[in-house]
Symmetry: C2
Subunit: 154 residues, 2 copies
């Protein structure tokens, strides 16, 4: 099996997982602390999707730490296939959530005057949360590609 940057049980893989956790948690925190997010379905879906991504990446980060401490090799085919499916499902859900929220943000800030008419809406916070979700998805996309490549080249 090939050695690749970001593979399971490697320091680079752990850094990617930590990045995913960190930015997903930050996205949830910013969105949850903004005013008026609950009236928008897309923002609620963003929180749910980032929550799922946080749980998935946190579990795999713990597994990476365990493997690094005990010097175990995690790269067997069944485990990699599980990682590929989980990573891809989570990545598609996260991208869908980030894009639908971005669509809504553009609508309420640029296309209509909803943000100007309701100054109590935290429009800047919505933008920051969506940006953090995109960064978190970017880390997850790198992990997903590496896992798929490892599984396919096995």
């Amino acid at each position: 099996m090939k050695e690749l940057f970001g593979g399971p049980g490697k320091v680079s893989g752990l850094i990617l997982r930590m990045g995913q956790c960190l930015f997903a948690a930050a996205s949830i925190a910013v969105m949850a602390s903004s005013h008026g997010f609950a009236t928008y379905t897309a923002f609620c879906y963003l929180i749910a999707s980032m929550g799922l991504q946080f749980l998935w990446s946190f579990s795999l980060a713990c597994l990476d730490i365990h493997a690094l401490r005990l010097n175990r090799d995690l790269r067997n085919y069944v485990f990699l296939s599980l990682l590929v499916v989980g990573d891809w499902v989570t990545a598609i859900l996260s991208l869908a959530a980030a894009c639908s929220s971005a669509g809504v943000v553009v609508l309420i800030i640029k296309d209509t005057i909803m943000c100007k008419r309701n100054p109590q809406l935290s429009c800047n916070m919505f933008q920051i949360s969506v940006a953090l979700a995109f960064i978190s998805w970017l880390f997850l996309a790198i992990s997903s590609c590496v896992m798929f490549w490892l599984a396919a080249s096995d």
Copy 2:
């Protein structure tokens, strides 16, 4: 190189490309003929993205027909790598466009009373166009995975 359903220069690959073209064109036609789409950035982006997907899939469908008629083998590594990059970029752009449009559709139909207040808006047409875009993306996602698998297992 492995033989796989949906590979380049095969009938199954051609059917996938034709499906992508057909649904992308239908999505553009429905959205462009709906009233009031131009005020929403997400819907304009959907038309642009589906246009790109149509051009990409149409070119590859022509190439598949050419290969099938002359019985040529298209599966060499450089060509596959090009297909992988093109397919993935197009697939991510299409998913982003479909999801951002879906977010906007949910907002104007469910979260707010914009559709009820403006009966001249073609809200049903927006929904149909987004659904067609998702079906087109699904065909493209299958092609992308097959190309990536073929390139990785080479």
